[in-house]
């Protein structure tokens, strides 16, 4: 179990290498005056803290993970704090999508424009 959680942390950190640049690009596309821009900033800040916490966590585990049978208290606390912050940050990420519609219909707006036009709706001029 100690080994498993070490590997899980390491793989999680590797996965952030893909998630960070894609998240950053999405954030840069939000217009500056939108409330979601601020939420995104908070989401990013919290995530960076979470990454830092798990990097420190993995370093602390490095010497003992292969033979320890129990995770040390300090490491466990770090993991709990990390997961709680991650949950808060993920909720903020969810808010951006489900409450503010960031990324929604970004790729499908052409399809929906055609549907709306065929249904007799007013639509803005195509850009």
């Amino acid at each position: 179990m100690v080994r498993l959680s070490f590997w899980a942390i390491v793989l999680g950190l590797f996965a952030t290498l893909i998630a960070i640049p894609t998240g950053l690009i999405d954030w840069l596309q939000i217009k500056k005056e939108k409330p979601a821009r601020k939420i995104g900033l908070l989401h990013m800040g919290l995530n960076l803290v979470v990454v830092a916490l798990f990097v420190a966590n993995a370093k602390m585990r490095l010497s003992g993970f292969r033979f320890d049978s129990e995770v040390e208290t300090g490491q466990l606390v770090l993991s709990i704090v990390g997961v709680v912050l991650l949950a808060v940050s993920a909720w903020l990420g969810g808010m951006m999508v489900y409450d503010y519609g960031i990324g929604v219909a970004r790729h499908s707006k052409k399809k929906w424009r055609t549907v709306a036009q065929n249904a007799g709706a007013n639509v803005p001029d195509a850009k």
Binding site: L4, W7, G94, G101, V104, W112, A116
Partner: protein, 285 residues
């Protein structure tokens, strides 16, 4: 009430979309541990993968419950309904494969390397999970399912009412009122989605008054029949554009173009929409 909780409305985002992170994460980790077991000979990778699979199946079953509730809430004729059915079918298949996979692994937890059969099952499960996960994402990001849903106070329409265009009577260009439904079927804050010929119209009731306007928002064409209706204003669920329902005027962006509105009257207890403006679909203009 229970439905609202299962849909995650108090959290302002779909509960299903939160819960699925657990099985996705666990199944992904199990596959990575399996792959790892073929490169390094650490004890515990294989048994770790087994625990991940068990956790994935259990959390996957939990996530299925709000998923099913969300499915029943999609309008019957919505293009996402078909995606949702595929998403559900693939997920059931995927969980069955992983359950079988876990049972095989349980017979012997101590090989250093993942044997071919459980490895192949895990790869198959993961491929199906990826396809199904993509469909789930497409429902949110392409079709806007669940987006802004928590702001709506009443049930959303479960189907589109199809109304045939009656033959032209009277003078050319005169208003033709077409009866749609009994007025008492539409309650405060509720909407109906109606298709007359090719034209899709929302009928909404706010402060006792009935309004009719185009279904699609003029920003990214979100479904106004699923928006929030209050004090004569409709708010698009997707990006919160607000329109005055009587005039169709934009009250709040991001939308810039006004909605098309249609004259409504209640005649002999039935909601009727004037057709002269309705009758011509975009294609014939």
């Amino acid at each position: 009430m229970i439905k609202h909780l299962l849909q995650g409305k108090p959290l302002r985002l779909p509960l299903h979309a939160i819960l699925v992170h657990a099985p996705i994460g666990l199944f992904t980790l199990s596959l990575l541990l399996d792959i790892g077991s073929h490169f390094v000979s650490f004890e515990g990778l294989y048994s770790g993968a087994f625990y991940c699979i068990v956790g994935g199946v259990v959390t996957g079953l939990v996530a299925a419950i709000p998923g099913l509730v969300d499915y029943t809430d999609i309008r019957r004729d919505h293009p996402a309904k078909k995606k949702a059915r595929w998403h559900m079918g693939l997920n059931i298949l995927m969980l069955a494969i992983y359950a079988f996979d876990g049972w095989i692994r349980y017979q012997d937890l101590y090989p250093l390397q993942t044997p071919p059969l459980p490895f192949a099952l895990s790869i198959a499960g993961f491929v199906i999970l990826s396809v199904s996960g993509y469909l789930g994402g497409a429902m949110i990001y392409d079709d806007g399912i669940g987006v802004g849903r928590h702001r709506r106070r009443t049930e959303t329409p479960k189907e589109t009412l199809g109304i045939a265009v009656p033959p032209q009577r009277g003078a050319e260009g005169a208003l033709r009122f077409v009866p749609i439904v009994d007025a008492e079927l539409l309650h405060e804050g509720e909407t109906l989605r109606v298709e007359i010929g090719d034209v899709v119209v929302v009928i909404a009731k706010s402060d006792g008054e009935v309004f009719a306007f185009q279904e699609f928002c003029t920003h990214r064409f979100g479904p106004l029949s699923e928006g929030r209706v209050e004090h004569g204003i409709v708010q698009c669920p997707w990006h919160r554009s607000c329109f005055e329902m009587r005039t169709g005027k934009v009250v709040q962006g991001p939308a810039k173009v006004d909605l098309k509105t249609y004259p409504v009257e209640v005649r002999e207890g039935k909601i009727c929409i004037a057709l002269s403006s309705v009758a011509a679909p975009a294609s014939s203009r």
